[in-house]
Amino acid sequence: MKSIVDYNQFLPWKNNLGASAVEVGPDDRSGMVYLHDPNLQLAAEIAIVTQRPLLIRGQPGSGKSSFAPFVARNLNWRYYETTITGRTEAKDLLWKFDALARLRDAQAKSDIDPRRYVTPGVMWWAFNRENAIDFISQRKSLPKGKVAVRDNEDEPLAEINYKRDPFRAVVLIDEIDKADPELPNDLLEVLGLNRFRIDELDLLIERKTLEPDPRKNSPNHFGGLLIIITTNQERDLPDAFVRRCVVHIIEEPEDENKQIERLTEIAKLHMSTLIESHHDGEKLVCKVARTHYKLRQEAKKRRLGREPSTAEFLDALKVCFRLEIDPESELWHQVEQNVFIK
């Protein structure tokens, strides 16, 4: 995709480059930094205004998952995440039911209010946080509405979310291609109708309708929920699912200079302190970036199926800084083996 700026942009893109910063790892979920990508920015804005999920495709380690917490931080929206595994079912994103506890209590003939055994999932929190909090209050037999936001230990990532917009959220559904092939289709109804029913309680949970912020330059004017789904493309996703998403592919540039420039920028964002404190920090970054590029090209030629990723580049760079290893030294071969080639 070409770079574009000639439209009504509303998504802020601020990297947290505080002086006391910043050494941010490649898989960091703090959302502090993300290299500016105007095409990805546009894709996120399209997803917000059209109320469709944003499906990000890309190789492992290309930065797909780090984008969601970054967007959430910039929008000041709450952030929830879930990583899909081979055993994940669609229901797990909506609610969890502790069947074992219920059975145990049934055997002890104690009070078995079924609400006790239901825990809101990430989509419930994203759809309707107030409802999730009230539900938990009732479950704990507390007076409704008396649960202080900051005391709500049951909210995922409560330590960051309590400061954020209580009505708007970003949800990361990570690595959806690892799931059973049926899971994406099972999610379609929930994503399309913005509601779901809890079987055990016969309770309908609906997404809260928000009044758009009247300020036309505010992101909150355009929407209140962004679902970001990532895939490593290990297998195809159902057409019906993909067609309902806004799709963005994270690609690394083929041109050597552009790739090195990109990696250098990423390195500066993630480890500015290390680079500045090293006597030849920028040169070292460049050397590692060139080596990374060569290894990628070699992997492509040999069709190894997996090329070194941006995340591995950052790992290798950290090794060089921390252990003072030069990419031209003998020890570098060991670093290559352990970090890149594996």
Binding site: M1, K2, I4, D6, Y7, N8, N39, L42, A43, E45, I46, V49, T50, Q51, R52, G86, R87, E89, F97, A99, L100, L103, D177, D180, P181, E182, F222, E234, R235, D236, P238, V242, R243, R244, V246, V247, H248
Partner: protein, 335 residues
């Protein structure tokens, strides 16, 4: 335009979302508009596609088109264009906007010396008559995912307690050594494939290759393993399987094993008497590793040897008409 696009390829097109995005994001150029459309799965070729080459026209501004939707003049009429070629009119909706992934069928003109000397046919466009038929898979694409799920899924325990079974056990006073959980079908265990590459199956070699690739795309490259074999009928001690590369002694337990073979039905030597013995080692491998076996056979059921259904109950015709309903009706729950 919506009707034309829907009937064009049967897909759902998110025009409402596109219009919403264009209205709110207000792209100022056709390039940005194209990028927005591309994110939504649409190819925007722009008004330029309508105009014959060498004719200049004025592009309608996107904003004007949206803002003046209630105006009595359609925005397209702002463009000064000559009378369009009828070809452009019939292709009008498809030229502007069509789902990504749709491409005109490519074709090759067969390089045949005899055809080269033949007089041109009416209509004069030879290409339309020389078109090689596109590849048609043996199982319909629209059913492929469903068919493979039903045929090849194995059952694993879900996290839902099977309350009915629990009730039954408690009523009977049975000792519970573990909680009964409901089972759900899954393809996560992966698929093993034994593919017959015998001469009799030569018309289906490409289909076998396509089947492997489609399964890899469905389930994941690392969850599909394939081994190729042929049946050698000319051995002194009788027909036998010969592996191109033999499978390991131990296969992943409980993974479904799909056997693609004609079981000698279409071979010259069948003569109506088909001996399944050469295929027995394959069935033994499946049993030894506790892998439920399914077979796909490119021949009608009436041609199958009687013993086949007994040996491999989950056998299905590998054919375009094999539907999900057919498979569900004939599937034996042996897992």
């Amino acid at each position: 335009m919506v009707n034309a696009l829907t009937s064009h390829n049967g897909s759902k097109v998110g025009l409402a979302e596109l219009l919403t995005a264009l209205k709110l994001l207000k792209p100022e150029s056709n390039e940005t508009l194209a990028l927005i459309a591309e994110s939504l799965g649409l190819n925007w070729r722009g008004i330029d596609a309508l105009q014959p080459s060498g004719v200049e026209g004025q592009l309608p501004l996107i904003e004007d088109s949206l803002e003046k939707v209630d105006a009595d003049v359609a925005p397209e009429l702002n463009v000064s264009m000559p009378s369009p070629d009828p070809k452009f009119l019939t292709d009008l909706p498809a030229k502007i906007l069509e789902p990504i992934g749709y491409e005109d069928q490519t074709f090759e003109i067969l390089d045949d010396p005899i055809l080269a000397t033949t007089e041109a046919l009416e209509p004069t466009n030879i290409d339309s008559h020389m078109r090689r038929p596109s590849y048609q898979p043996l199982l319909q694409d629209k059913w492929f995912r469903g068919l493979m799920s039903i045929m090849l899924s194995t059952l694993i325990a879900s996290d839902k307690i099977d309350w009915k079974m629990l009730e039954r056990k408690m009523i009977r006073g049975e000792l519970l050594d573990r909680l009964p959980f409901r089972k759900r079908p899954t393809l996560q265990r992966g698929i093993l494939l034994f593919l017959d590459r015998s001469e009799s199956l030569q018309p289906f070699w490409r289909d076998e290759k396509e089947l492997v690739e489609k399964l890899q795309r469905l389930i994941g490259r690392f969850k599909v393993e394939a081994w190729w074999f042929e049946v050698d009928h000319w051995l002194i001690d009788g027909p036998r399987i010969r592996w191109f590369s033999p499978p390991p002694l131990q296969l992943p337990r409980n993974a479904s094993l799909l056997l693609v073979s004609d079981f000698g039905i279409s071979g010259e030597l069948s003569l109506g008497r088909i001996d399944l013995d050469p295929w027995n080692p394959l069935i033994d491998i499946a049993r030894r590793n506790n892998c439920p076996m399914v077979s796909l056979i490119p021949a009608p059921i009436s041609y199958w040897p009687n013993a086949l259904k007994r040996r491999i109950p989950n056998s299905f015709v590998w054919d375009y008409d094999t539907s999900i309903a057919t498979v569900m009706r004939n599937k034996h729950q042996i897992r």
